[in-house]
């Protein structure tokens, strides 16, 4: 089960390349997630992998850990070529991944989770005493005061992360992949994590580290690689580079290629958000959005910039009616929609293009055309029946308006590439004739060309008099595709920027923990 | 406070259940309905000679309901308290019910069992606990255990029906047989008895034999299908009345009433009504009420005198019901 079955590695010493991916490509449905990537990691070193959302980081990690299989290319672990059929095989070779979304059973205790699937046994029965002793030792090594018999569901996210790490250590990982390990951690917990990472590297473990917190990652990294649009575009020693180098390589091409002309005429206030609070759906005791105010005018594109967990998605979902608002008011053109249903909001012109198009945007069992007309189906009625010609006309017009590349409205939605699927979701919302257009990470995981198309679409809608509010975690998008940037941190708007006079560093600094003031819970927060 | 409320609720509920049981026991006998409301009071009378537990298959079937009701009524008449429960032909549930009867300190158990082999263990359990068991309607595959096994003579009754059927068919022509659930002993016994009589007449030809699982709807569908593929069918003989009535409905739907003869078995009230209406030829009456009453009387004898006067295996003859005596029918019995 553990690394003991493969060659124990006296041969492999710190600095040796122990994990190699050669010319790895991966195609999902229609999208090239990775294009010919050559990647390597050294024993006893931390390799940080940078890239914007959709650049292919997570895909690469999944391939390294045996979760996904590459379309082309090969993997070598400790000098042997491998083709992992499953994560279990990867674990047998000592390659362990800690996913961004934790893979724990919340109903089981800490000890049970650490030993899940390879329980210690004595005479066939689970040896609970031995498991408990081992779990306590692991947690002590991680300096985390966690009751090993507590159900994981009762722990804070940061503590759950530590449990994942304890599990990885107990697997005798020799290559440990950490996908966004700090996104849910407090500063103190990050300190502990870094100490643990240093301890592991000094024991010869190779660490592959992914984070959106660039400075944090640079601090711990020995080697740095940057992915962009599925390709590895730069690599260097961490000591030789700085934050600016990383950002430049992440963003890549000249931003002007990607972004359209802005500056539509600003009109009346269309969307007004007054003191809105939203409970965190995953953790109802906590507020994901706290007492937030904002306004968006007709013809204006406003960007909500923030890191993961800043509350962007929760805010947009609350505005769209998916999540309940626990305090405050949402007004569209002066009309109070705080308690309206999703359908009523769509009727009044407030609609959301969700972040996760597979989960929230598309019905996979329906065709391109049926997906597109779904939200506006009642506009094509003749009597009680759907008028097929009217519907077909609207769909056809929208397919060409939003430039979807498809064989026709009858094509299955799964036959489209990610970018074209996203355009279908946008087309669906546009068919409802919105006045306020909400978009959550509209360019996540799509090709560059489609990104440009989508920004052009947003600009065109603004010119047509819509109020556009979109969320992003990408600096380039925030600064180049909006008229105004609101920085969201811990559920509050902490700063407001004019993108024309703001640098990436300013924006990043404002969004980061260290730079922004910790808003006290009893104040009304640092609104812009 | 809340506890006393719960207690009161429970008491009410129990009373309700008792009242229900009392009502249904009234329905099965010839007593006027007014009597049944006082039955609950009678069962609770202190001079009663203890508890008799009556366990039968599901009361869905009027046959078992009549049987259970008759046993309860007889026992109460003799001054016993009673419980009446259904095991739904589930041996496990039967075993649980017998456990409850033992715990409740029953003086005797009247049982229409849930399987000839599967019931041996539970009966043994009751006997070990010192409770005499009186089996009715169905036997078990072991003797010397139960105090009595009183069953209708299925074979004799089926032979009676078959003879009547042969007579109505004028000893010649094609016929169909609908058999009961193939896992049920009585289905086999009746089918064999039918065959042993009918096979003596070479001009009677069995063109289709299908199981309809004792079920009316299934018998209806299968009969319709069989009538399609065998247009020359003159008669249908069914293993019980429910299936016979399904066949009658199919014959009517095909417009063949009077041309296709149907015969059943059990002597259910619906079948007797059909006989009176002329759509059903005959049925074999299983004297369920008589058997249940006999079992209770013998139980009373054992309880009061400590000894059984009858042999263990008792077979009660069935009676043929046809147009001639249908008027004298009472629920699973005949007036003399």
């Amino acid at each position: 089960m553990t690394a003991a079955t493969t060659s124990q590695a006296p041969v492999w010493t710190a600095g040796d390349v122990v994990l190699v991916a050669e010319d790895v490509s991966k195609v999902y449905g229609g999208t090239h997630a990775l294009r010919g990537v050559d990647f390597s990691a050294r024993a006893g070193a931390v390799t940080a992998v940078f890239g914007e959302n959709g650049a292919g980081k997570s895909t690469l990690m999944k391939i390294l850990a045996g979760v996904e299989r590459p379309t082309t290319g090969s993997l070598h672990v400790f000098g042997e070529e491998v083709a992992f059929a499953s994560p279990v095989e990867a674990v047998e070779r000592g390659v362990v991944i800690i996913h961004q979304e934790l893979n724990l059973c919340p109903n089981l205790s800490v000890t049970d989770n650490v030993f899940l699937g390879r329980e210690l046994r004595r005479r066939g029965a689970v040896d609970e005493g031995a498991e408990r002793t081992a779990a306590i030792a692991l947690l002590e090594r991680l300096e985390e005061r966690i009751d090993p018999s507590a159900p994981v569901g009762d722990l804070r996210l940061g503590q759950q992360q530590v449990v994942e790490i304890a599990r990885a250590i107990s697997l005798e990982a020799r290559v440990l992949i950490m996908d966004e390990p700090t996104s849910a951690l407090s500063n103190a917990e990050v300190e502990v994590l870094f100490r643990v990472i240093r301890e592991l590297t000094s024991a010869g473990v190779a660490i592959v580290y992914i984070s959106h917190h660039l400075e944090e990652a640079l601090e711990i990294a020995d080697d740095v690689v940057v992915l962009r649009d599925g390709a590895l575009v730069a690599e260097a020693k961490a000591a030789d580079v700085d934050l600016a180098w990383v950002v430049a390589n992440m963003v890549g091409r000249n931003p002007d290629d990607l972004y359209p002309e802005l500056g539509a005429e600003k009109g009346e206030v269309l969307l007004e958000v007054r003191g809105v609070s939203v409970a965190d759906p995953a953790n109802p005791g906590r507020l994901a959005v706290a007492d937030l105010d904002l306004t968006v005018h007709a013809g204006e594109i406003v960007c909500l910039y923030g890191l993961m967990g800043a509350g962007r998605t929760e805010l947009l979902e609350a505005l769209a009616g998916r999540l309940p608002v626990s305090a405050g008011a949402v007004l569209v053109d002066g009309e109070d929609l705080t308690t309206a249903t999703i359908g009523q909001r769509i009727d009044r012109g407030l609609a959301l293009v969700p972040e996760d198009r597979q989960r929230d945007g598309l019905v996979q069992t329906m065709t391109v055309g049926d997906n597109m007309s779904l939200a506006s189906i009642r506009s094509y009625l003749r009597g009680a029946f759907v008028s097929n010609p009217a519907e077909a006309k609207a769909v056809k017009r929208t397919i060409s308006d939003v430039t979807v590349k498809t064989s026709g409205p009858g094509a299955p939605i799964g036959s489209l590439s990610g970018g074209n699927q996203q355009k279908v979701v946008i087309g669906k919302i546009l068919l409802t004739e919105p006045r306020v257009l909400l978009l959550d990470e509209p360019t996540r995981g799509i090709d560059v060309g489609a990104k440009a198309d989508i920004f052009t679409l947003m600009a065109a809608q603004a010119r047509a008099g819509l109020a556009v509010l979109f969320a992003t975690s990408e600096l380039g998008e925030a600064l180049n595709a909006s008229d105004r940037v609101l920085v969201l941190h811990r559920g509050r708007v902490v700063r407001e920027f004019d993108p024309r006079t703001t640098s990436k560093e300013d924006l990043m600094a404002a969004s980061d923990d260290a730079a922004s003031p910790e808003p006290a819970d009893d104040t009304d927060g640092a609104s812009a | 406070m809340s506890r006393s409320t719960t207690a009161r609720m429970a008491a009410l509920l129990t009373a309700g259940v008792l009242a229900l049981a009392a009502c249904s026991s009234g329905g099965g006998t010839d007593k006027p309905a007014a009597d049944s409301t006082t039955a609950a009071a009678t069962t609770a009378a202190p001079e009663a000679g203890g508890l008799i537990a009556v366990i039968t298959p599901s009361h869905d079937n009027p046959f078992f309901k009549a049987e259970a009701d008759a046993a309860v009524a007889k026992a109460e008449e003799l001054g016993y308290k009673t419980t009446s429960a259904s095991h739904d032909d589930d041996p496990n549930k039967q075993s649980e019910l017998i456990d409850s009867a033992i715990t409740a300190g029953a003086k005797a158990i009247i049982l229409d069992n849930a399987g000839a082999d599967a019931s041996i263990g539970p009966v043994q359990k009751a006997v070990d606990a010192g409770i005499p068991v009186f089996l009715i309607d169905r036997e078990i595959n072991q003797t010397g255990l139960a105090t009595a096994q009183i069953v209708a003579n299925n074979s004799q009754g089926a032979a009676l029906v078959a003879e009547e059927f042969v007579k109505a068919m004028a000893s010649a022509g094609n016929y169909v047989e609908l058999t009961g659930k193939e896992s049920d002993t009585n289905a086999g016994v009746r089918s064999q008895a039918y065959a042993s009589v009918i096979s003596q007449y070479p001009d009677l030809k069995l063109v289709a034999q299908e199981t309809a699982n004792w079920d009316q709807q299934e018998a209806f569908t299968k009969t319709e299908t069989i009538l399609q593929s065998n247009p020359g069918v003159k008669g249908i003989i069914a293993g019980n009345d429910t299936m016979a009535l399904g066949a009658v409905a199919a014959v009517e739907a095909a417009g063949l009433t009077g041309k296709v003869i149907v015969a059943g078995f059990d002597g259910s009230p619906d079948a007797v009504a059909a006989i009176k209406a002329g759509t059903l030829l005959a049925t074999g009456l299983q004297p369920a009420v008589q058997i249940a009453q006999l079992a209770v009387e013998q139980a009373d004898e054992v309880i009061t005198k400590g000894k059984a006067s009858q042999e263990e295996k008792q077979s009660i003859d069935c009676v043929l019901i046809n147009k001639d005596n249908a008027d004298k029918y009472t629920l699973f019995g005949l007036t003399e």
Binding site: N249, R322, I342, V363, L374 | H59, D60, Q217
Partner: protein
């Protein structure tokens, strides 16, 4: 004959033929069944036998139509068999005279009123299922499993376990005519077949021509996406269970009318036949996929198969085995078709991006 041979067309054409064969697999299964039984039995293909078998099919087909809607939302309705029994019993009580002890009267409602009341009862039971599922978030399997027992128990309670015989009504009470549902004919075709046709057409219109249908498919395909598109997911789900209850109640009436008697245990395990018909017809239990045509063909496959086996005289035990095997086979074929479709879609998508090159490794970093 064709002067311009087009060799490149051929593989595409044969692929499409393969597709069509799979698409029509339920029809093909039905055709195979008809051919086999027609060769084994002279009477199988006669008009009157076809009508009889279709009448038998109608019962399951009407249930399957209601079940189809439920399955399209990704749910399941295990209570339909019990609703069949309950609806029959309600009709039985009313036709035999509904005693109201407190007023000391016996009501003999008109037949149409009896039919309406029974259908309403079925619909209400379906609505209870729907409320449990949408309001109280009980999983459909559990909610309808519970209702399977509750509805059956209610039927037994109402009837006190007895069968209501002789539902023909009496002329002096003005409640004759109930038999027409099960035994009447219109233009030579039995009423129950007409009812099946009416239900099939109504449900086809509902799900192909009305917004409700689109909402239904979307709810089953992706509930989250549907609700974010403004689809009233809860209402759709509630309605679907009500329609299923209505269909079951209709079946209960047809059976009670055919037998002119109502037994509380009527309809046991009918839900399984209905689910099988829907699944044979190509619906996905995960929701979002399935057609009226498929459900009907599925019901015909099951009905013709069981009637055919009886006509040919196959032993009862083999009948059960064969039926089970056909269900599994049909679903296996369906899985094959889905895999084929998916790989085809992936190939098509891959073709559209093949020309996008990777970004250049040597691209100049933007000024930091």
């Amino acid at each position: 004959m064709n002067p311009v041979p087009q060799p490149a067309e051929r593989p595409a054409w044969s692929l499409r033929l393969g597709d069509a064969l799979l698409e029509l697999r339920a029809f093909i299964a039905l055709a195979v069944i008809v051919v086999i039984f027609a060769s084994l039995s002279d009477t199988f293909l006669t008009g009157s036998n076809m009508i009889t078998m279709t009448r038998h099919v109608a019962v399951n087909a009407i249930l399957a139509l209601g079940m189809l809607l439920v399955i399209l939302t990704g749910g399941i309705d295990l209570s339909v068999g019990s609703i069949v029994g309950l609806s029959g019993i309600v009709a039985g009580v009313l036709l035999q005279g509904w005693e109201i002890p407190s007023f000391n009267v016996i009501l003999y409602p008109q037949v149409w009123a009896v039919v309406v009341v029974s259908l309403v009862v079925g619909t209400v039971v379906g609505a209870i299922n729907g409320v449990l599922i949408t309001r109280f978030k009980v999983a459909p399997f559990i909610a309808t499993l519970g209702m399977l027992y509750v509805a059956r128990g209610t039927a037994l309670l109402i009837s006190n376990g007895a069968t209501f015989p002789r539902l023909g009504g009496a002329p002096e009470l003005g409640n004759t005519g109930f038999r027409w549902l099960g035994t009447g004919r219109v233009i030579g075709v039995p009423v129950s077949i007409w009812i099946m046709v009416v239900f099939a057409v109504a449900i086809w219109v509902l799900i192909r021509k009305m917004p409700f249908g689109r909402w239904l498919y979307a709810t089953g395909g992706n509930e989250r996406a549907a609700s974010l598109s403004g689809v009233p997911v809860r209402t759709v789900t509630l309605r679907v269970y009500m329609i299923s209850g209505l269909c079951a109640a209709m079946v209960g009436l047809i059976i009670a009318s055919e037998l002119t008697s109502a037994a509380p245990q009527t309809g046991e395990t009918f839900e399984l036949n209905a689910i099988a018909a829907v699944v044979i017809g190509g619906a996905s239990l995960a929701g979002g996929r399935g057609t009226v045509r498929g459900a009907l063909v599925g019901a015909f496959v099951i009905g013709f198969l069981s009637d055919g086996l009886v006509m040919v005289g196959v032993s009862t035990f083999w009948q059960v085995v064969i039926k089970g095997a056909v269900i599994v086979l049909a679903v296996m074929l369906d899985q094959g078709q889905q895999r084929l479709k998916r790989s085809r879609a992936a190939a098509a998508a891959a073709a559209t991006v093949r020309h996008d090159g990777p970004p250049s490794r040597t691209s100049t970093p933007v000024a930091a």
